[in-house]
């Protein structure tokens, strides 16, 4: 085929002006979208910070370690809510991570027949589709009454530990932890499943070919290769757990009286904000803003910290 012929058959050898504009336009569009995210984040931070200046000036860092919350005396301290936020999300993670990652391993490694695996997989996604208010209702009317006898027996055996030393009487931190674990389970499971599926099959084969059985292969090769994805899912779940409001408010008891015990009613920052913003004024609004700022900073710190861990753990393939 000679040169002239090919010039006729491909008439777009030169980039047209419109094609170039389209390219540039798309680039600028993506840039704009990306900047909007950054601008939004910063403006939220600024608004919250400005709203909380009054409270920061008045209570300073003692806000973090006192637990009075008394609008009548104008005394505010967020320790109960901070403790509640941390204990609920961390313990919920401790429950949900092994369960979720375990389920993901179960779904991705061919331990059970394929059709059962895909049914399980769909059920996990469905769990994510339940609205949190429905979970909250379920927690109040079914889960908590059902669990109470178990919690009472834990209290009677392990009551000497500060975190178990009150008698469960109804709404409290422990049922909130369980409902949070249920809510973050599908996030952890589906992201872990996706990152496990991403691990190239040749690694699996390589491990089996030197006589590794299933568990060493999973724990020494597959999981480390997928760890950064899994950790990403865990982070997302932690963010969700720290910020979850509706279901937690419904079951945690919304008490500002501090107690180490997870069987006592408590509070989280998100639940406190949702409950009090409606009727708050003056210093209380500012203090709620302060609490919100703390929540944002907590989330940020956890994220940065986790990124560092992921970087150290990650295996490159």
């Amino acid at each position: 085929m000679n040169r002239r012929e090919s010039e006729i058959r491909y008439k777009l050898r030169k980039r047209t002006a419109s094609e170039r504009t389209l390219d540039n336009g798309f680039k600028n569009f993506s840039l704009g979208m990306a900047s909007i995210v950054a601008i939004l984040l910063f403006s939220i931070l600024i608004v919250i910070f400005r709203g909380s200046i009054e409270s920061i000036a008045k209570y300073g860092l003692s806000f973090l370690i006192t637990s009075d919350w008394n609008p009548v005396d104008d005394a505010y301290g967020a320790f109960t809510a901070i403790y509640g936020t941390l204990i609920t999300s961390i313990v919920a993670l401790l429950i949900a991570v092994p369960l979720g990652v375990g389920t993901a391993i179960f779904i991705t490694e061919n331990i059970i027949p394929k059709n059962i695996r895909s049914i399980l997989s769909v059920m996990v996604e469905l769990l994510a589709a339940i609205p949190s208010v429905v979970l909250g209702l379920w927690a109040i009317f079914i889960m908590e009454p059902f669990l109470r006898p178990f919690l009472i027996s834990i209290n009677s055996f392990l009551g000497w530990l500060p975190i178990f030393n009150t008698t469960p009487v109804g709404p409290g931190v422990a049922p909130a932890i369980i409902i949070l674990a249920i809510m973050i389970l599908p996030i952890i499971t589906s992201i872990s499943r996706d990152s496990l599926n991403q691990v190239p099959n040749k690694l699996r084969e390589g491990a089996y070919a030197i006589g590794a059985s299933r568990w060493p292969t999973i724990f020494n090769i597959i999981l480390p290769a997928a760890i950064s994805g899994i950790a990403g899912g865990v982070l997302l779940a932690l963010g969700r757990a720290m910020g979850e409001t509706m279901a937690v408010t419904m079951i945690i008891g919304n008490s500002n009286n501090f107690s180490w015990s997870i069987f006592a009613p408590g509070n989280t920052i998100a639940a406190m904000l949702a409950n009090q913003f409606g009727e708050a004024d003056g210093n209380q609004v500012s203090s709620l803003m302060y609490a919100a700022l703390i929540l944002m900073i907590l989330t940020l710190v956890v994220n940065v910290f986790a990124q560092l861990i992921v970087k150290r753990l990650r295996l490159k393939y």
């Binding site: 390589g206 070919a209 006589g211 590794a212 090769i221 393939y317």
Partner: protein
């Protein structure tokens, strides 16, 4: 399954395939393979793509067990023991019959760990540093790697990665090493290095290698099996079978089948 290497049984095959037919999802991919591979020799599988060389090779260390819907009929004997008998544990089979794959697949761990991992799970009790050094030397990788033991195995070049995979396989001291086109992703110099490695290895191991490169088959192998595929009568796919199996010199100098003659002279494939 213990055996002693004395002369009386050196003629008895290490691995024998008896009427092996392997199917994927009920449609056969290779049929009725009979083949006896001698101990301490290199056997090459050659043939056009898709004729089932890898499939047969993978059946020898039960790698096909990992593929959904892959089934085997007939018998695969290793030292006289049927590898597919119900009481045989596939993990043990793979500890005694190692495999090197077409794509280098080092673990995303350090060079040292790549070798130590297999040794550890096989219950190695000796000195690990010594084992790592010895395996890398046998795989002709020690000189290039002795300062990089802490670096990731995936940071090596393709040829080095493949030799690392060979090193990790010989570290667990299998009796047989299966190699599925180990040089197809490599440059000629790495290929030569791996062939040299094979020459050393065949003193102590039985090797079965799939290769697309006929000069390679001539250079490294003692026995050669030529596979071909025919159009399946009912279905759309192709069905592989063993055309001819003999000493390498016979296959390449005076093949008894016309198809073999055509293939080795490059007239098809």
């Amino acid at each position: 399954m213990n055996h002693t290497k004395n002369n009386s049984i050196i003629n008895s095959p290490c691995i024998s395939l008896e009427n092996v037919t392997i199917s994927y999802k009920n449609s056969p991919a290779v049929r009725n393979i009979y083949c006896e591979m001698p101990r301490g020799k290199v056997t090459a599988f050659i043939g056009p793509s898709g004729c089932g060389k890898s499939t047969v090779l993978r059946s020898i260390n039960r790698m096909n067990d990992l593929i959904d819907g892959c089934s085997l009929t007939g018998r695969v004997l290793f030292e006289g023991v049927d590898l597919y008998a119900p009481e045989v544990d596939p993990v043990e089979v793979r500890r005694r019959i190692g495999m090197v794959f077409q794509q280098p697949n080092p673990f995303p761990k350090s060079v040292y760990e790549n070798i130590a991992f297999g040794a550890r799970i096989n219950g190695y009790t000796g000195d690990m540093d010594e084992l790592v050094e010895m395996s890398l030397k046998k795989a002709a990788l020690w000189d290039e790697c002795k300062d990089k033991l802490k670096e990731s195995g995936c940071s090596l070049s393709g040829g080095q990665q493949q030799r690392l995979c060979i090193a990790r396989t010989i570290a667990i001291e299998p009796e047989v090493i299966l190699m599925d086109e180990p040089c197809s992703a490599l440059d000629p110099i790495s290929t030569l290095k791996i062939e040299e490695t094979m020459h050393d290895l065949k003193k102590s191991y039985t090797i079965i290698i799939v290769t697309h490169n006929m000069q390679q088959a001539v250079r490294v192998s003692d026995m050669t099996a030529f596979y071909n595929a025919e159009k399946q009568s009912g279905g759309s796919g192709k069905l592989g079978y063993l055309v001819e199996y003999n000493e390498t010199s016979k296959i390449f100098n005076s093949p008894s089948q016309k198809a073999t003659q055509d293939y080795i002279s490059g007239r098809f494939g």
